[in-house]
Amino acid sequence: MNNGKIIRGLVLALAAAPAFAQTTAPAPPSGRLLASNCFQCHGTNGSGGFERLAGMSAKEIIGELREMQRKTPPKMMDMHARGYTDAQLQLIANYFASQR
């Protein structure tokens, strides 16, 4: 039996056991989907764009967002910042703080 056949056999064995995969995948990181609302302007995973967010401290991110929420007349990001609750801001900030 060649290696290709072995691999195909293993693939089939795995494919036949979907319940197996369902119990092993860890949950996605908390806040990731919410934070992905920032990626369009700040780069995938906060890696660039207008301002790099990945690796900033959570305190700094929340401080900036709170300041933006109070600015008048609001610029685009000032208005966007008003779209999240304090709990959501904390989730977003924690997510970026944990990224490199």
Binding site: L10, V11, Q22, T24, A25, S36, F39, Q40, F50, G83
Partner: protein, 438 residues
């Protein structure tokens, strides 16, 4: 890097059971045979596995394909089916009409999705979707099996009466899908005489990019003012009033481009005669040197052709927690083709794609989709060749109506147009396209 032979020896020798992480290693080892190539932006060992086919490589489809791999890892086999070799952005395409951008500058290839994320890009046309057998058939007969299907075909157009032939359509282009019609419309504008008339019609909601037609009226007026003095832009809007950025466009029509733009709301087009270049409407017959008529929209053909359309035959209703079609389990519809409370536009299509990708990955892991997704829409609208306004809105899931509802405090438009906004627009566009295609 572990060579395939070594991996098998190691796996066999250690007598390990194949864990989910092992699946990823296996996929990596077997990359050449096609499950998935390990690319820099794709994690191994997420424990998620499955086959996802994505139809359509626009803003929604490209983003979904990228994030299924970027978040899902090497165990998620992603195939993107697209009929064109590259995507041409509709965002910024009004800047082709005033000569400040080229169509070529708006093109984005699929090379990054393949090389960085291991997305298999297949150039082809879908002939059939088999929702029971869970497979997609392409022209030429090849069959792609899937566990989850994402359909993102964008929009198609109804025919306005009188524009049934290709010759008539060429004389009254909509240029609402960037391509040859956009270039043709630019050439028609530059061929206008002084004191000429540009007629622009806006279809009833919902249509792609709500502020887009008003933005177009502004940019064409701005160019004509400086280059074809005495010319007019007549806007025939099927809607009862300006549908987006009311403050900015009212100011643009009444003040900035005063005397150049003539705006008519509530206009119904009865027919179009391209021999006399006349639009017959409920407010009279309007003649123009250029007719730029944007027809009513519907979802891309693949939707109705495969029984995915709602009763009205135009769009697909979805569960906005996962974008799974109400009529078809396992088939997710994102972007402009989906009937939701969110606007049809590229920026929010990118976010819908992320919500959908995240939901599919959770479903493949035996979990439920995120119960409280949030999305956002944002765009800048040029008012002149160097100033712009902006529009933004955040949408949150409302469990009572099961719809995405705008968060009032975060929905609004620019207080005034500015050069700063215009500069930010370029930065926004670059970042958005990179998040979708790179």
């Amino acid at each position: 890097m572990v060579k395939r032979r070594d991996f098998i020896k190691w796996a066999g020798g250690a007598g390990i059971s194949l864990t989910a992480a092992g699946w990823s290693l296996l996929a990596a080892a077997d990359g050449k045979r096609g499950t998935a190539t390990v690319a820099a932006g794709v994690p191994t060992g997420t424990g998620i596995k499955g086959r996802v086919v994505v139809i359509g490589g626009g803003m929604a489809g490209a983003t979904a394909a990228k994030y299924l791999r970027y978040w899902g890892g090497t165990g998620v086999d992603v195939t993107l089916v697209e009929r064109d070799t590259s995507y041409t952005s509709n965002i910024m395409s009004n800047l082709v009409l005033n000569g400040s951008r080229t169509v070529t500058s708006l093109q984005y290839g699929y090379g990054n999705l393949a090389s960085r994320y291991g997305v298999k890009v297949v150039k082809g046309d879908v002939t059939a979707i088999d929702p029971v057998g869970r497979a997609v058939t392409l022209a030429g007969g090849s069959r792609l099996a899937y566990d989850r299907l994402v359909v993102a075909p964008g929009v198609d157009f109804d025919l306005l009466p009188g524009l049934e032939t290709a010759a008539a359509q060429a004389k009254a282009p909509h240029a609402w899908k960037t391509g040859p019609q956009t270039t043709a419309l630019r050439n028609m504008i530059t061929a206008m005489p002084n004191g000429g008339v540009f007629v622009l019609s806006i279809p009833p909601k919902p249509y792609r990019c709500p502020p887009g037609p008003y933005e177009r009226a502004c940019l064409v007026a701005d160019w004509l003012k400086r280059n074809r003095p005495g010319s007019k832009v007549i806007v025939l809007d099927a809607n009862p009033g300006i549908t987006a950025e009311v403050h900015s466009f009212t100011d643009a029509f009444d003040v900035v481009h005063q005397g150049v733009i003539e705006y008519h709301p509530g206009v119904a087009i009865a027919s179009v005669d391209t021999t006399t270049m006349t639009v017959n409407t409920n407010i009279g017959n309007i003649r123009g040197n250029v007719l730029n008529l944007i027809p009513p929209h519907r979802a891309g053909k693949v939707i109705a052709a495969n029984g995915l359309a709602d009763a009205g035959g135009k769009w697909t209703s979805v569960d906005v927690l996962s974008y799974e079609a109400t009529v078809a389990p396992g088939i997710h519809v994102i972007g402009d083709a989906a009937a939701t409370t969110q606007p049809k536009a590229g920026h929010i299509a990118n976010q819908e794609a992320k919500v959908c990708a995240d939901a599919i990955l959770r479903l493949l892991s035996g979990r439920l989709p995120d119960a409280a997704p949030q999305t956002n829409s944002a765009c800048y609208s040029p008012i002149t060749a160097d100033t712009a306004s902006w529009l933004t809105a955040t949408f949150a899931y409302d469990p009572l109506t099961k719809t995405m509802q705008p968060v009032a405090a975060s929905s609004g438009e620019a207080a005034a147009r500015s050069k700063d906004n215009f500069e930010e627009m370029t930065k926004w566009f670059t970042a958005l396209m990179a998040d979708s295609f790179a």
